[in-house]
């Protein structure tokens, strides 16, 4: 697992380096290879962030679908914010609900929490084992199962495929 972890970190850091530099001359590439090899070997020797990422074609395909769904939700959430902020009566009905997630992988849970934070009317307040506590600006379901269906499942079905 360790080799896979360091490998993925290396690829991400190397891409990051090339984007930062913006040129592809030989010295830039050689320096980038050295730097982006040293840093994961030093810091990611034991960490397991990328360990359960799946590298199958299906996972890549689902990543693209996920990005698309996420972008759509992002735009929708901002229209929602606009509507709430501009209307003079402030139509809010806030509350903290509890939802359930099946994801085990740490990276997937991070992405899920970030996605919930950026989508319409919700943000992650706390995360404890398999439950997430979500602050919802307009509570529609107080029940755990129903709220899970509303908030989590549209992301979870893609993340389940990408990460184990």
């Amino acid at each position: 697992m360790n080799i896979k972890n360091i490998g993925i970190s290396f690829l991400i850091l190397f891409g990051f380096w090339l984007l930062l530099n913006g040129t592809f001359s030989t010295p830039v590439i050689v320096t980038g290879l050295i730097v982006s090899l040293i840093i994961p070997m030093w810091f990611c020797a034991r960490c397991d962030v990328f360990a359960d990422m799946r590298l199958t074609p299906k996972a890549f395909f689902y990543t693209f679908i996920y990005l698309f769904v996420f972008g759509f939700e992002l735009v929708k959430s901002n229209l929602d914010v606009t509507r709430r902020v501009i209307s003079p009566k402030l139509p809010i009905n806030p509350g903290i609900v509890k939802v359930k997630t099946k994801l085990k992988s740490k990276m997937a849970r991070l992405i899920l929490a970030n996605s919930i934070t950026l989508t319409p009317g919700t943000f992650t307040l706390a995360i404890e084992k398999k439950y997430l506590y979500v602050h919802w600006i307009d509570v529609q379901d107080k029940d755990v199962e129903a709220a899970t269906k509303d908030i989590v499942q549209k992301f979870e079905k893609y993340l389940e495929v990408i990460y184990g």
């Binding site: 970190s9 991400i12 850091l13 990051f16 380096w17 930062l20 530099n21 001359s25 010295p27 830039v28 320096t31 730097v35 982006s36 840093i39 994961p40 810091f43 990611c44 960490c47 962030v49 740490k106 990276m107 849970r109 991070l110 929490a113 992650t124 706390a126 995360i127």
Partner: protein, 234 residues
């Protein structure tokens, strides 16, 4: 009340002393004096695209040496002070709480990236804004993020001081090499100058900036680490 009005008087005196400086300020149209020389000949003499780096590392290299020394002294004095105050570390209870899982994962993802950003800033110090000091500060921020997200984590003081000493010694050694091989202390012509505006140019400036970056980074990390160690209830 008397005291406050006295202070106000002092302040007014100070303002009156500095006011002519602001008031008689004349906007300039071109550079004059030494700045004009740096601007016109810096490209040939030093070969660094970033003229501020040229001034910091080569034209005024001694200032930089003094600055690194001052920072080293400050770091050492802070370490000494905080060490003496930890008289009973044995029975002191650690009160660090676990961070939220999201922060731990995010720090695992972001710390290598911030490290790479710091490395980019000091490796490209002669081409883009930034240099050793900024890169070192960014690396120290990465370590600070590591300490904030996982307060229980210990990292060795020895490694920090070894990196700091080695880079400091090499910095002075390269400076002395300048006397032997080129025009003077910290002269950057000891390596080939390369093509202007590429990564391998400006002679020794990239090497000196990498050394300064490592040294400043380890000094600031040492300060942050010492302060974090002092948070124990003792």
């Amino acid at each position: 009340m008397l005291r406050n009005s006295l202070i106000l008087l002092v302040l007014l005196g100070f303002a009156a002393a500095v006011f002519p400086l602001v008031h008689s300020y004349e906007a300039k149209d071109t550079l004059t004096g030494v700045a004009e020389h740096y601007a016109n000949y810096g490209k040939e003499e030093v070969g660094a695209a970033n003229l501020v780096s040229a001034v910091v590392v080569t034209y005024r290299g001694f200032d930089t040496l003094g600055e690194v020394t001052i920072l080293f002294l400050a770091s050492a004095v802070i370490g000494l002070f905080l060490k003496v105050s930890e008289t009973h570390t044995k029975d002191s209870r650690s009160v660090f709480f676990k961070s939220t899982e999201i922060l731990v994962t995010a720090s695992r993802l972001l710390v290598p990236m911030i490290m790479l950003l710091g490395a980019y800033i000091f490796i490209n110090g002669h081409l883009t804004p930034g240099g050793g000091f900024q890169g070192g500060a960014v690396i120290a921020s990465a370590f600070a993020l590591l300490l904030l997200s996982r307060p229980q984590k210990q990292f060795s003081h020895k490694l920090i001081s070894v990196i700091e000493s080695i880079s400091g010694i090499t910095f002075v050694f390269i400076g002395l090499l300048g006397i032997l091989l080129a025009g003077g202390f910290l002269d950057n012509h000891i390596f080939a100058m390369g093509k202007f505006g590429t990564l391998l140019s400006a002679g020794a400036i990239p090497i000196i900036y990498i050394l300064i970056g490592l040294k400043v980074g380890s000094e600031l990390t040492g300060i942050v680490r010492n302060l974090k160690e002092s948070q124990k209830v003792g």
